[in-house]
Subunit: 310 residues, 2 copies
Amino acid sequence: MTGLIALDWGSSSLRAFRFDGSGRLAETHSRPWGIRHLPAGGYDAALADVTAGWPALPRLACGMVGSRNGWREMPYLDLPADAARLAGALGAVRAGDGLDVHLVPGLRDPHGPDVMRGEETQLIGALALHPSLAETGSFILPGTHSKWAVVQGGAVTGFRTLMTGELFAVLRQHSMLGASGAETANDAEAFARGVAAARDSGAAGALSRLFSARALMLDGTLAAGSVPDYLSGLLIGEEFRAALADGLARCDTPLHLVGDDALCEHYRRAAALFGIELPPPIADAAAHGLWQLALEADLVQRHPEESPAC
Amino acid sequence: MTGLIALDWGSSSLRAFRFDGSGRLAETHSRPWGIRHLPAGGYDAALADVTAGWPALPRLACGMVGSRNGWREMPYLDLPADAARLAGALGAVRAGDGLDVHLVPGLRDPHGPDVMRGEETQLIGALALHPSLAETGSFILPGTHSKWAVVQGGAVTGFRTLMTGELFAVLRQHSMLGASGAETANDAEAFARGVAAARDSGAAGALSRLFSARALMLDGTLAAGSVPDYLSGLLIGEEFRAALADGLARCDTPLHLVGDDALCEHYRRAAALFGIELPPPIADAAAHGLWQLALEADLVQRHPEESPAC
């Protein structure tokens, strides 16, 4: 039996992927056991459970599992970084079963400074799935902490973190903007209106328009239940406005989404209001990035002849 | 006995001022009874307590007491608005003691839209205390929801709300940026560094730099205890950056602070990093604004000859 157990282990969730020897993604298990919500027994118990029934294979993990508050802290690797540099900088932690879990380091952009953990692996996966993007491309990885990254010659050369998802959550749950307690209407028009407010805020930016979510509601032109949609549009729209102002996105460089469908669909709708057409998102990027890094690091060898059923 | 009982009644606090007939501020009482934290007995009990021992005088209140969730909702008055228009739009609520409490309406800027309640009275008070500013001036009223207002010919002609104070509080208490739990260092250098980060963010703006508070800490160049100071500087600095980008503040128009000393001192330090020298803040503006509006509305007559001891 050959193959790889790939672990995408973040703050709030754990996903395990079993690759067979030909690099085919054979099986996926998900658990709500991010490093902040581990089960009794900690990392070892989580690992044993999420890989139960799988053969003993090389294991490679990315994400917050390698952070200061994770299983073992992996130092950040400074930019620029391609698959070979990342693969050359893997570390490992010895699990309770006596076998290693190899760990991918995060990346650090010394010009921010800025840091990422997990997204570097998604970027490597996106490039592996779409080799034509490796020469030059810009990537959006939406999330709690969205990343906008620039790739040149197969290497990540720059990126910036936008706290969009977290900001939305804390404003919705703890600020006056979420105070109505109304159900979220899932109002596409209010979302678009928020995107437009960010786009049209000019150099002042959307932070100076945050209160408009409240003022429009008091004005009777935005339903209380649509305030979260408007706020979501305002914050996602601000990502595009700021990225264009900052040169992280450019009209002459292809822009790609990496992530899950639902959230990425919001970004596609926002992009359209900036005149940017985004192709469908690149899915399963973390899993394929882990496979790619495992290949580069010689943790696995590809056996194209192996039966897919193995 | 002549004079006025002036009430600055906001979301989180209640301040009562007794003016004598000559317009002298004779006595002040404060209670933590904003409209969201009323004592048993509600508005009437709060009013009776905060004015205990004072004579029966005309009463005029400003602030959230006139909001939808207040004692009685006062409609917003559209801009432009000077003291005479505000005084002509007062309403009243009959208190449990059978006497009226007159209420100042809030203001609405139809171009935002944006709204204020209470700050309109502070602005009238600031102009009454400094008549030379009435012709043309810009005012910053720092707070949970900071207001930047423009005055022309004695009238408020435009304003914008920045949610700086509330944003700081929710990020500090509920986001990853406050996660260290470290005591706030009160680090003036970190504050200045945050201001500079906002100033130097260019058209992208400080929202795109929010994560730097975390990245600098991970980088070891910002102490965990100084993250709140940095964040405070970043958000207050962003007010200046956005206001300058938006034309709400201009280099050729005097800029003035209205509010309490401690918070205003932060704004003065931030302004200095933008090359703007702000004079000391205008204090007690709400009280003097209420007196001014009461005069305009003929709720009181000034009696210059009255003894200050009355």
